[in-house]
């Protein structure tokens, strides 16, 4: 993982509804990964900010760079990745400027991460207790007994019966939903200020998904943790997010509050996504889909990345880098179309769509 720091040109943080400095302020994040076929531009010029205690959703299809973005924040990218950014400020410290030792002190402590697949994310050869206590012992000056008490406390918090017994078990003795609860408890051991959850419910049964999301929401409120929730599911966004970033082909194409995104989507891609949500009761209508495929991110690209799938694309979309148009602080989209362009035609009663997506 090579890190380049681009000189900071603007000082003003770029997001949020404004009370105080954001907890995490990412500006101009670019991640290039060397692959046999050339350079994969996984993430290009991504900027966003997360305020203390809020839920920020990063939404996009597979391969759009949402996971890479979060791994870059954690500085967990492989050696073949090159990171460049103006800044990744977390609690006032630039993560890119930290030594390896300093970042180790933050991970698991102030920064927690929950991964997609709970079946493979826990080490099969150690007990749950061992894996939970380990984080606490690593970051807190405490004894085993205190760590065990903390682990039991958190297992209760994540809704696990008879925690003392569970702590002595191995991951293979637990179901997927239980394991994801264990993962959540593990990341909360040191009460991180920021929790990144990368598709935390994708690998789980639908019935368990809702429980886990509710749990995350409750715990977030209780521990006042900020949450970056990475998902491709707009239903989850509608239910969880305070603010949203829509990513497409390594770029943020639209940002805003959850209400703004669902009520007045600006980018044609966002509108396309919203049109893909099935609306109960709307029989006879074709379910929306976005034609075409995501362009390859290997090699150099110019113009709007969405243009080959965009119903509004024209000649001016082919060249140059399309800038993010800021409508207000924290609200913007990356398109040449004027704000409000042809909204009615592309989306169907967006407000209802959002609320009904929650129900299903």
């Amino acid at each position: 993982m090579t890190i380049t720091q681009v000189r900071d040109t603007s000082v003003q943080p770029n997001g949020g509804s404004g009370h105080g400095a954001p907890l995490l302020d990412v500006r101009g994040l670019t991640v290039d990964i060397a692959v046999p076929a050339g350079t994969l531009h996984a993430v290009s010029d991504v900027s966003f900010a997360v305020n203390p205690g809020e839920t920020f959703c990063i939404v996009g299809e597979s391969g759009c760079g949402k996971t890479i973005t979060s791994l870059a924040v954690m500085r967990l990218l492989p050696k073949t990745a090159r990171i460049a950014a103006q800044r990744i400020l977390f609690e006032g410290r630039d993560l890119l400027g930290l030594s390896d030792k300093e970042i180790l002190g933050l991970r698991g402590n102030r920064l927690g991460m929950i991964f997609q697949d709970p079946m493979t994310s826990l080490n099969p050869v150690f007990t749950i207790g061992n894996q939970l206590e380990e984080v606490y012992l690593r970051h807190r000056n405490s004894g085993r007994r205190e760590a065990r008490e903390r682990a039991e406390f958190l297992l209760e918090k994540v809704g696990i019966q008879s925690p003392a017994m569970r702590l002595g078990q191995y991951p293979h003795q637990l179901s997927g939903g239980l394991r994801q609860r264990m993962m959540i408890a593990m990341t909360l051991m040191c009460e991180p200020a920021l929790l990144i959850a990368d598709e935390p419910t994708t690998a789980l049964d639908v019935t368990v998904q809702a429980q886990i999301l509710q749990l995350l929401k409750n715990l977030q409120r209780e521990f006042r943790t900020a949450l970056i929730l990475i998902t491709h599911d707009l239903g989850i966004v509608a239910r969880m997010a305070d603010r949203v970033a829509i990513m497409y082909a390594g770029r943020v194409v639209e940002t805003g509050t959850s209400a703004e995104i669902f009520a007045a989507p600006q980018h044609p891609y966002t509108r396309g996504l919203l049109a893909c949500i099935p609306v109960p009761g709307s029989q006879g209508k074709r379910l929306g889909s976005i034609p075409g495929i995501v362009p390859s991110l290997i090699g150099e690209n110019e113009g709007c990345m969405f243009r080959n799938r965009c119903p509004y694309a024209g000649e001016s979309c082919r060249h140059g880098e399309i800038a993010l148009r800021e409508l207000s602080p924290g609200r913007g989209y990356r398109c040449i179309l004027e704000p409000g362009h042809a909204i009615s035609e592309a989306t169907r009663e967006p407000a209802t769509t959002a609320s009904q997506a929650t129900v299903q």
């Binding site: 991970r107 493979t120 994310s121 099969p124 380990e134 293979h172 593990m186």
Partner: protein, 305 residues
Amino acid sequence: MLRFVLRRLQIALLVAITVSIVGFSLLRASGDIALVLAGENAKPEEVVRISHAYGLDKPLYMQYLDWGAKALSGDLGRSLFTNEPVTGLILDRLPVTIYVAVPALVISLLIAVPLGVLAATRPNTWIDRAALSFAVTGSALPSFWLALMLIYLFGVMLRWLPISGSDSWWHFVMPWITVAIGVIPLQMRLTRTGMLDVLSSDFIRTARAKGLSAASVMFKHALRNAILPVVSVAAVSLGFLLGNSLVVESVFALNGVGMLAYQSILRLDFPVVQSIIVFISFCYIFLTLMSDVINAKLDPRIGLR
């Protein structure tokens, strides 16, 4: 866990019985022992007499049962050549063989495992390539040649180490090196492959996301998962070293089990050969059992199978 061990014990017992039957029959199949005992110019009635005296005229399964019953009570018969009890012959030679094999295995593990981990953490760097070259060279060198070269270098030219005998532990240094260099490559490659495999798993990413140090990620989280095949192979290696110590023992003039087996084969001393075969097989069975138990201890999922 207990059920797992008991089940493994049952299997081990079945294997042991099978092995003893095979070991017993193989030797009988290799020729008429009574003829050998009687000598080349023996008269037929003499052969019959010997055959009867040794119970060789009984049906084969009766001979096996007789032999098995005695063997269980520690009586493996007498050497046809020296007339000494076989049990004593083997037990006399065993310490030397063990003293070569066990420390050599420990040394090779102490070198191979860290080297494999190092190679896996830096794949395709000069360290990895150097380790690979070492492994290829090590497994390509015949041990008799390596032993002779060591004797020439350390014994003859530098005069640092004694070249033969088993009087002090200095005498064992060159045998250890010879044996270890033969064993290290496989263990190192296994460690490297296992580690590379494990290092790409999700739970390693989790461990790193917890802020654990690189050493903790490597040696706690990764190695314990990667070491299982190394344990199994180490057990087999030890069995191999106990049973195939002839080359090293003959080059360094050590009077071990390998030497005894070799001499007994030349003399057609079948009770000794048979006992050694069965003894070595039992060592294998025991070591495999041990490695299964150790692995079940290392990975709780194994105990469930």
